[in-house]
């Protein structure tokens, strides 16, 4: 089980969290302009790196807030992004 660092509550058991997948996937700025291929990208395509992944977690059984970490998908080593930007985005 991973120990995941919530920026607000500190390190907590993985069972308290809900996984949100790739970070920084934002809703298309101009949805009316989007081609089918771009819609497909937005809806279905996510990065799937072997190595460092920037991803979202929700502290569902805790403060219920979303945050972003970087994690190595081969070792589960977590690099907390504790910049102000990481906490607020």
């Amino acid at each position: 089980m991973m120990l995941i660092p919530c920026p607000w509550c500190g390190p907590r058991n993985e069972t308290e969290f809900h996984y949100g997948g790739q970070a920084d996937v934002s809703y298309p700025a101009e949805p009316q302009q989007l081609s089918d291929a771009d819609w497909a990208r937005f809806l279905f395509y996510r990065a799937n790196p072997k190595g460092i992944f920037t991803e979202r977690w929700n502290h569902q059984a805790g403060c219920r807030r979303w945050f972003t970490i970087r994690r190595d998908t081969t070792t589960n080593e977590i690099f907390q992004d504790d910049s102000h930007e990481a906490v607020t985005r």
Binding site: Y19, G21, W39, A40, F44, N48, K50, R71, T74
Partner: protein
């Protein structure tokens, strides 16, 4: 002369296949020596006469998901597209032992897919109807009929999620995964196909959008055609080409108990309470459940996932509370947004992709081999895998099997 005790071992039995040095060029190179890569090579040779071919495997033969799956074979999927492909595989399974002349321990002991809520019951009956229209054996059983088939299952009403009934596919079952791989490998070796282990593909040679070969840890190899069969590691390969795929790699765990007397006569799957169980020929209870939530290439998952599946297992099978977990492990499964596979052409000439089988591709192994071989040989999908093209994520013609695949496959 003093002898080391135990040193006088008999000779190693004959190898089922050789481990040749890779040649510098082949008509077809298959990337990944799991079940799908081996079956594809087999049908390329047998159905299409292609034998100047290599299967390149980064580790040891069939040591990926092929060695780690819980071997459930069934074809009772909801949609016509899936029914076509999985039922084709089922028919091939039914003749495969004879065809490969190798014991696969293919045992058609049936599968029960349990229903625990009114919605489950409605969905299950609908699936039984769809299956029958597609010529697939399927029945709806009430709780008493379920108890007759699997007496060790707790069908009493006082469960948190009582068993309200189940779908029953008598032709479903299990097979011995390793034997399946070895049977294909032996046949391929006899036909002169090179099975190259410890050979990782690290990139591609290309002229524009035409693939001309692969780069490997054992040198560059030219290829007329390159077919990917790398399961959970497919993104790592296609990232080299800037080709994005809608797959996410996750850990999927399984476990076995110690060897027990035969107690479990069939295969039981429950999507709602999240567990599936069969008993292997040797006697272990074989259990699996859902993926761990996060992306990972680590071939390991968390213990709480196992704890949850055992909770469900003990609730359904009270006698399992006396069994012990002997071994747990994980594979890396490539999950798609619609819980269906991707098999077909790519934007690159001479490059073919088969991936996205996620938690349920073992049962499809011979069907994948058959259809993927056709796709590669004719540069055009077989009608059975045509719906599983990459374009469906753009056109919206998804094959949504979350209902029939759900947790488990």
């Amino acid at each position: 002369m003093p002898r080391t005790p135990g040193a006088d071992l008999p000779d190693h039995p004959d190898w089922l296949w050789n481990s040749p040095e890779p040649k510098r060029s082949y008509d077809v190179v298959i990337v990944g020596g799991g079940g799908h890569g081996l079956a594809t090579a087999y049908y390329l040779a047998v159905n299409h006469g292609i034998t100047n071919m290599a299967v390149l495997e980064s580790g040891w033969l069939a040591g990926g998901n092929m060695a780690r799956n819980t071997t459930i074979i069934r074809s009772n999927y909801l949609w016509d597209e899936s029914a076509g492909l999985y039922e084709h595989a089922m028919k091939l399974w039914e003749g495969l032992e004879d065809e490969l002349d190798y014991p696969l321990l293919f045992s058609q002991r049936g599968v029960l897919n349990l229903a625990h809520s009114l919605q489950d019951v409605r969905d299950s009956k609908r699936r039984v109807g769809a299956n029958r229209l597609n010529g697939i054996d399927a029945e709806w059983l009430d709780a008493d009929q379920v108890a007759e088939i699997c007496p060790i299952l707790n069908t009493s009403e006082d469960l948190r999620y009582p068993v309200l009934g189940a779908t029953w596919q008598p032709r479903a079952g299990i097979a011995k995964h390793d034997h399946v791989a070895w049977g294909f490998a032996r046949a391929l070796d006899r036909m002169g196909v090179d099975l190259v282990q410890n050979c990782q593909v690290t990139g591609f040679d290309r002229i524009g959008d035409r693939i001309t070969g692969v780069r490997t840890t054992r040198g560059d190899i030219a290829a007329g055609k390159v077919a990917l069969a790398a399961a959970g590691s497919t993104s790592v390969l296609t990232d080299e080409l800037g080709l994005a795929l809608p797959i996410q790699s996750h850990p999927l765990q399984a476990l076995v108990s110690e060897l027990l007397e035969p107690v479990h006569p069939t295969v039981v799957m429950s999507n709602a309470v999240h567990v599936y169980v069969s008993q292997a020929h040797k006697g272990e209870l074989v259990l699996g459940a859902g993926i761990d939530s996060y992306n990972s290439y680590g071939q390991r998952g968390a213990f709480h996932t196992i704890e949850r599946e055992l909770t469900a297992a003990v609730e359904l099978f009270p006698m399992f509370s006396r069994a012990h977990v002997l071994r747990t492990w994980a594979g890396v499964v490539d999950v798609t947004p619609d819980a269906s596979a991707i098999m077909g052409l790519t934007p690159f000439e001479n490059l073919y992709v088969n991936c996205g089988w996620g938690t349920g591709g073992f049962k499809a192994t011979p069907g994948v081999g058959w259809c993927y071989a056709h796709t590669i040989a004719h540069d055009e999908p077989h009608p059975l895998n045509a719906p599983f093209n990459l374009d469906r994520f753009t056109t919206g013609a998804l094959v949504d099997e979350h209902g029939a695949a759900g947790v488990a496959h």
